[in-house]
Amino acid sequence: MDLFHTIIAILESTIRVSVPLIFAALAGLFTERAGVFDIGLEGKMLGAAFAAGAVAAVTGNVMLGLLAAVLISVLLSLVHGYASITQRGSQIVSGVAINFIVAGSTVILGEAWFRQGGRTPALSGDARFQTVTLPFADAVRDVPFLGPIYSELLSGHFILTYVAFALVPFSWWILYRTRFGLRLRAVGENPSAVDTAGISVIWLRYRAVICCGILCGFAGAYLSLAMSAGFVKGMTAGKGYIALAALIFAKWRPVNIMLACLLFGFLDAFAIRLQGNPLPLIGQVPVQLMQALPYILTVILLAGFIGKAIPPKAGGVPYVKER
């Protein structure tokens, strides 16, 4: 029974740490499927987390915090879009630049505005997301097996958590069942085909980049308004890159993305749980190894050991009309 509760606890924290990964990886899905690679997920998330923390601290309103997060993230996306779509610059350079600028400016602005060493003031009450208890969660708590799964594993998360998981089928529906999705996938594979069909490649890619911005905003807001009570400098701690790895690992498909994020989240949760405790049969496992596993798995995948990850064909290439 104790093992059961340990497993429930690990899975519960798996869900908790997977949520920002899911938001960010879905964000990446939208732009990369449209042919705009985005290594700047990390920076957008961090910028959004800061904006959310700052605005929520000042206004005391969590929804205004979320709105600010989305706005900042979309703004950063548009910068990336302007550089890589309109100006046809290098998408990698633009993304890296955004990461650096945000990492620096959030600390400077945070210190200038709040003087707490780059943090935003701790949030409480209405300035922060509260957990949601699902109906009957208390009533079924004592039902053996299924009870704890429902009331502890599924119930008691933030509203954003449920939003993240709901976004997985929704993103699939958008991409595969709507006109916008069809065109978005087409522009990532062969923009010339889209252009000659009379659709604006540029506008389409901008819309994809904006979708990415909105979702990165949610990811950032989750970090500073739900998972923590306020912004801490560098609080994304590489989650943007893990999300990118999950996106590749999932071969740019929505449901795979959720599974990949849960896997990477599980590794993370497991590593935290494991700290200091030896693993049965294996013995002491360095935490660093667990933390490196998502990247190692992705490299193994890219090397072609687990099927084949084929990126969108026109990914990373600015569209230029050929003569």
Partner: protein
């Protein structure tokens, strides 16, 4: 209703310094197939891109069905009833036929309803024009001919009355091309107007009603196809009389320059591609290797030129052995007098992103004449490039221009100039005129004959049987990696064709 589908009046377009279209006038009659012919770079594609709204003309009017229209983007072109089948297909390869056909013309925001409507419409079009294709097949799994059919369906789905086809046969096999011609004939019978762009004279004569000729950005003539001839069109295209036949005197073979004995080559999968091949090549003669593509000619060239390792056999260059089964340094071969014009000029012969002058010395850049100590002698390289540009009539005559911006024929001239001007004893040439214009073909053939007359030994591989017959002094036929026969150049096409198909060869080998 007039019987004129489309009229262009005074269309003018420049890209920077390049004047691509100069005051073009064109009238296309309804329900006809109108050919537009011209060499690569004559401005055909630019003109059609203007018509399809990809570019805007600097000046001039487009009149469709008697109304002057502005075509500011492909959408406007589609709305005016113009459809285009591009040279490089505009298809999303991992989409289905149906998705590709409806992309950009979806009925509603939600796909399900669009898909079912598109499916019905596609069925109707398939029936009406006999254009069968499985709507649920993925494009990447379809052969090229069917992919092109999807492009045609795309245009018809958008209710195009005027269909532009840009070099449609370049990617097709001859039977696929014949099929396309039948489809175009059918479309014409149904009242569609077709504009057919090509640089192949034979196609123009085969299917068009009228033909307009472009040369260096100008529309130089329009003829009824019945009232013109291949010779006249070739002359109009190039601007001077073109010799479609090669004139050459008898060969004076000298000593053996290249001797190949029992050469055997396998490919990466271990399949024997060249099987025990032997022949001699003498100074002052051209030996042509005929064969259907993929019968070992490419591997033979690669083994002799040191790019691919052979598994057995001997090759002697100027009487001295080349270590074909061991390590061969192509640079050493060049120093020993072997010039090589590779079959694939884009990937092997040239670095397309380099300037013309840089490509002009590739492989010879280590020679003293191009160096200043350890540095490149840019002046010498420039002077060398200018000399070759003059001698080989490479256009545009700009050694600083990126090689990618030259036409196929001029790129080939860059490679030929590099390899020929060094004066090798043995010159190996693969596909000398693949993707090259009529005018340039004539020039290249002349140069090859000249080289022979100067005493060079030339080994020629080409999939164009006409070319092999016109240039060679002896013809070796390869089939399935083996030499199945040797013939004089006056052997008939039928005789060589049977050898190439492996029919005669088996008999001969059995004897």
């Amino acid at each position: 209703m007039s019987d004129i589908a489309i009229e262009l009046r005074g269309i003018d377009k420049s890209f920077g310094l390049v004047h691509a279209n100069k005051n073009i006038n064109l009238t296309v009659r309804k329900g006809t197939i109108h050919g537009i012919i011209g060499e690569n770079g004559a401005g055909k594609s630019t003109l059609m891109s203007i018509l399809y709204g990809f570019y805007q003309a600097d000046r001039g009017d487009i009149v469709i069905d008697g109304n002057t229209v502005t075509i500011k983007d492909p959408n406007a072109a589609i709305a005016s009833g113009i459809g285009m089948v591009h040279q490089h297909f505009m298809l999303v390869e991992n989409f289905t036929v149906l998705e590709n056909v409806m992309l950009g013309a979806e009925e509603s925001q939600i796909l399900n309803t669009s898909i079912s409507k598109a499916r019905v419409e596609l069925k109707r079009l398939e029936k009406e024009y006999a254009l069968e294709v499985n709507p649920d097949a993925l494009i990447e799994q379809l052969p090229v001919g069917l992919q092109q059919r999807v492009e045609i369906l795309k245009a018809l789905y958008r209710k195009a009355d005027i269909l532009i086809l840009d070099e449609p046969t370049g990617v097709l096999t001859p039977p696929e091309a014949d099929h396309l011609f039948r489809i175009l004939g059918q479309l014409k019978d149904q009242g569609k107007t077709i504009i057919f762009i090509t640089h192949k004279l034979r196609e123009i004569m085969a299917i068009t009603d009228e033909v307009s000729v472009m040369r260096r950005g100008e529309m130089v003539a329009t003829r009824k196809t019945k009232e013109t001839s291949v010779e006249e069109l070739a002359e109009l295209m190039v601007g001077r009389r073109v010799l479609l036949r090669v004139e050459k005197g008898a060969a004076n073979p000298g000593e053996v320059k290249l001797s190949v004995e029992n050469l055997t080559v396998r490919d990466g999968r271990g399949v024997t591609m060249v099987d025990n091949v032997s022949f001699n090549l003498r100074a002052g003669e051209i030996v042509g290797i005929a064969g259907v593509a993929g019968n070992g000619q490419s591997e033979l060239l690669e083994a002799i030129s040191g790019i691919r390792r052979a598994v057995g056999g001997k090759v002697l260059l100027n009487g001295k052995p080349i270590d074909v089964t061991g390590h061969v340094d192509p640079r050493e071969l060049r120093d020993r007098g072997l010039g090589h014009v590779p079959e694939d000029r884009h990937h092997v012969g040239l670095v397309l992103k380099f300037e013309e002058a840089e490509n002009g010395i590739l492989g010879y850049h280590h020679e003293k004449r191009f160096l200043n100590g350890v540095f490149l002698n840019t002046k010498a390289i420039q002077a060398d490039a200018e000399e070759k540009i003059k001698k080989y009539d490479i256009r545009p005559p700009n050694p600083r221009l990126k090689t990618a911006n030259f036409s196929g024929g001029n790129q080939q001239k860059i490679v030929l100039a590099r390899e020929m001007e060094r004066g090798p004893d043995v010159l190996i040439i693969g596909q000398p005129t693949r993707g090259v214009d009529v005018g340039a073909i004539e020039f290249i053939h002349k140069r090859i004959i000249e080289m022979r007359d100067q005493g060079m030994a030339v080994l020629l591989v080409s999939v164009e049987l006409d070319e092999i017959r016109a240039l060679s002094d002896r013809i070796i036929v390869m089939f399935a990696g083996r030499v199945v026969g040797e013939r004089d150049p006056d052997a008939t096409e039928g005789e060589l064709g049977l050898l190439m198909a492996g029919v005669e060869g088996r008999k001969e080998a059995a004897e």
